[in-house]
């Protein structure tokens, strides 16, 4: 059993729909689902006023499945706090996708907005397109970003990916903006493409692996070694990598791995390596 849902029209103002989660839908009848409350701007609406909703024979190993088709770019908080089941979205997802998610699986065949998986604690989000800023980040003022689970982005991400991250794994196969792993306190971030710099700024713990090019490195990182490969989650990624620690301005012990082959301009750092450390 599952639910198919698609927008009835293009929305011009934000639509808040925290109710679109397998947790909520799986306990309700279709007619109850149709009458769930959502907000379109400042107007209260019923789900059925904005969306076509029907039941369908969708199943997945994760359990109750919501199949979403269409442009949900204005629809915020899809999968908010979900703990089980699956959401498959063919189209564009709005901001705060999977925020505070605890379990289950969200798959997006398209782009997603900013704050994907922010403060998530478990589960898995996979986006085949691009995402915005603050992926896996914390809410304003809070030091508790993503604590567990996995976010996988096949496209690009923008700024401050993994801000205040404390655990879990973020993989971006494309490129990222500035300040990846800002204030990071734990967990792992892997970037397949290039970055706009300032990676690992003010991080204290955790691991950032960059396979592509970085424009420069913050002066507050120290080179430690050159490593042939590095572990990302369960997977081993082949290098070689320059391994830096920082951010020393925060007395940090974060590890920043940057591909050696794609960053010939970082060769100058090798002179700071004591011979013992070159392996």
């Amino acid at each position: 059993m599952g639910i198919l849902i698609s927008p009835k029209r293009l929305f011009d103002v934000p639509v808040h729909a925290r109710c679109i989660t397998p947790d909520t839908f799986s306990t309700l009848s279709l007619s109850e689902i149709l009458n769930l409350e959502v907000h379109e701007g400042n107007r209260k609406r019923k789900l059925k006023e904005l969306f076509e909703v029907s039941t369908g024979p969708y199943t997945s190993p994760e359990g109750f499945t919501i199949w979403m088709k269409g442009d949900f770019s204005k629809v915020r908080y899809i999968g908010y706090g979900m703990s089980t089941g699956k959401i498959v979205l063919e189209g564009v997802a709005g901001m705060h996708l999977g925020e505070e998610m605890k379990g289950g699986f969200i798959q997006v065949y398209g782009d997603a907005g900013s704050w994907v998986g922010s403060m998530m604690q478990g589960g898995r989000i996979e986006v085949f397109g691009d995402v915005g800023d603050y992926t896996g980040a914390a809410y304003r003022g809070s030091g508790r970003g993503m604590r567990g689970g996995e976010i996988i982005v096949h496209g690009n991400a923008l700024n401050e990916t993994g801000c205040y991250m404390r655990g879990g794994l973020i993989k971006v196969y494309g490129s990222v903006g500035q300040f990846t792993g800002m204030h990071m306190h734990g967990g792992t971030i892997m970037v397949g493409g290039e970055t706009e710099g300032r990676d690992g700024a003010e991080m204290t713990k955790g691991k950032i692996v960059i396979l592509g090019r970085v424009p420069s490195l913050l002066p507050t990182f120290k080179i430690e070694a050159i490593k042939p490969r590095v572990k990302v989650g369960e997977e081993r990624v082949e290098g070689p990598f320059y391994m830096f620690t920082g951010d020393l301005a925060e007395n940090g012990e974060g590890k920043l791995y940057v591909s050696k082959n794609n960053n010939p301009h970082l060769k100058e750092f090798e002179k700071y390596l004591s011979p013992v450390k070159v392996k």
Partner: protein
């Protein structure tokens, strides 16, 4: 609207009424003995507790430091929001609620009068603007005067009467209610990143000691006949071993009391009752303090009870807040105010697992239970420093029930549980004593004659709680009381029903109390004073005072001074 509150169990300690079943009559916003009009609403309070509206002697609800705390903590607000209704404004809550939410939440607990204890005089307009947006409750605010340059200079030169006249002007200019001292002398020293060590350590560049400041302002308070005593946040607050400083502070004004009248209030005493040498060797000093208070009538104190939660600490004690930041690594706001005071803000979480926090929790309750006279120990959490004010019902639960305390104790840090004195204390507050510690005693200490009682002529500020003391035993069924005190069945403010079944049903504006001193020698601001003023502050003398237009409902309290 006239009211007849019928058949409630009335607790009115000022009039010696202890749970008697009786009717209370209200007309014209006052308690009356007979209703003039034939039309009145009847509230059936049978099986319920009727008390005067709650009075809070110390709660940071408005002004620059509270607002800086709000700004600092979006993550605190986002988890606790209030929706707009037909009659109430929306807002956010938890440890530093927005102004409207503050007013509603106090009213929902049956509180009708709240004192904001910390106001930098230079930013007094700000405090009053916020108080205007804090609905329902009556309020007042204490200007910070213990590090004010004029005070330091007058007291250094021994000019008590001049100082008194100046303080009188200051209360007028800031629309203040009482003299507040925070770490006297220490905040001036903090201007250069320093502090004072004890009450005899002179203030850098001013050649005056905290002892002289405390004694001086205590004398000033007496000369001016202010309704409340000096309100003191001690030196060395929050440091192990500071209970000795607290004892010295209380002792240093012993000779200034006359008769049984208190002359000093030590606020959030829990933070000033630490024994030991560091955070490892850290113990409760509550017993020593309680012993002193039990034998000396010139002191009143309030608890500053710790609640195990995530809260926001904020005080004018800049150096203490810096230490707290160093200790926790949490984000830190500091705001020094020229010529007057400082302040600091650090988010803080009290954890049951922590030995120190557990001991702190014990200290507050030990103070409340070891001090025998409930008229001199009041229930506070130093909102939001030791916990938000919305936890008062929980504290009441701990006071009325040993079982409630044991339940919390069982979850505390083991070492704390084993070393603390609290588990051996059997005392349980009666509801009569609760009424003293939460309203009557506080109103008396504040000199608010119309508050804290249900005698004829008093303000018709009344709280009705739906719990039957004849059927439900506080000691064992404390939960019922915690629930009832959290959501008043009725809150009546100036004769109007503002809360029903824990929901706000009517919004009105509370009054702002301030002290208007009339003196023999009319206080005039000399040209010399204006010149010094221009040198000391970056605002012009004319732009400094708060006009009465800043008070939505101004309630001056006239006092006749000796100077």
């Amino acid at each position: 609207m006239a009211l007849l509150i019928r058949n409630g169990y009335v607790y009115d300690p000022m009039n010696g009424i202890d749970g008697e079943k009786m009717d209370i009559l209200v007309e014209g916003g006052k308690i009356v003995d007979k209703l003039k009009s034939a039309e009145y609403e009847v509230i059936d309070a049978s099986g319920m507790i009727v008390m005067p509206g709650g009075v809070d002697i110390h709660s940071h609800i408005a002004g620059s430091e509270v607002n800086a705390g709000r700004l600092l903590r979006p993550e605190d607000h986002a988890k606790d929001v209030e929706l707009k209704t037909e009659i109430t404004r929306s807002g956010v809550g938890y440890s530093v609620p927005s102004t409207f939410t503050t007013g509603y939440r106090y009213a929902k607990m049956g509180y009708t009068t709240v004192m904001n204890p910390s106001m930098p005089p230079l930013e007094a307009k700000h405090t009053h603007e916020e108080l205007c947006d804090t609905p329902i409750i009556d309020k007042a605010t204490y200007p910070l005067l213990g590090d004010w340059w004029f005070v330091l200079e007058y007291l250094r030169d021994g000019k008590i009467e001049e100082c008194a006249l100046h303080v009188a002007w200051m209360l007028y200019a800031t629309k203040g209610y009482a003299i507040k001292l925070v770490n006297p002398g220490g905040l001036e020293a903090w201007g250069f990143g320093r502090n004072v060590r004890d009450i005899d350590d002179p203030v850098p560049y001013f050649n005056v000691t905290p002892r002289e400041i405390i004694r001086g302002l205590c004398k000033v308070n007496k000369l001016l006949h202010l309704p409340h005593t000096i309100h003191v946040h001690t030196n060395n607050l929050g440091k192990p071993g500071n209970y000795e400083t607290t004892l010295q502070t209380m002792k240093c004004v012993e000779d200034l009391s006359s008769g049984d009248k208190p002359c000093i209030h030590i606020t959030h005493c829990q933070f000033s009752a630490f024994k030991g040498v560091d955070w490892r060797e850290f113990y409760s000093g509550a017993e020593d303090i309680a012993k002193y208070v039990n034998f000396h009538k010139h002191v009143t104190i309030d608890m500053g009870q710790v609640i195990f939660t995530d809260t926001t600490t904020m005080t004018a004690d800049g150096p203490f807040q810096y230490i707290l930041h160093e200790l926790t690594g949490n984000k830190w706001v500091n705001h020094d105010v020229e010529t007057e005071t400082s302040s600091g803000i650090v988010p803080f979480r009290y954890r049951r697992r922590s030995y120190v926090h557990s001991i702190q929790w014990c200290i507050g309750l030990e103070l409340a239970l070891l001090i025998r006279d409930p008229w001199r120990i009041f229930l506070t959490t130093d909102h939001p420093n030791a916990g938000p004010f919305t936890s008062y019902p929980q504290v009441i639960g701990w006071l009325i029930s040993r079982k409630a305390r044991e339940e919390t104790l069982s979850k505390l840090n083991k070492r704390a549980r084993e070393t603390a004195l609290l588990p051996s204390i059997d005392r349980e507050y009666s509801l009569y004593e609760v009424a003293i510690a939460t309203r009557a005693g506080q109103a008396r200490a504040l000199g608010l004659k119309d508050k804290g009682h249900l005698g004829v002529g008093g303000d018709a500020d009344i709280a009705i709680y739906d719990v039957d003391p004849r059927k439900i035993d506080p000691s064992t069924q404390y939960d019922e009381y915690v629930k009832a005190f959290s959501k008043a069945a009725y809150t009546i403010k100036e004769g109007e029903i503002v809360v029903r079944n824990g929901e706000v049903v009517k919004v009105l504006d509370g009054k702002t109390y301030w002290v208007k001193v009339s003196s023999n020698s009319e206080y005039e601001v000399s040209e010399d004073m204006k010149r010094r003023f221009t040198e000391y502050w970056t605002v012009q003398f004319d732009n400094y005072p708060v006009s009465e237009a800043y008070l939505k409902r101004s309630k001056p309290v006239q006092v006749e001074s000796e100077v």
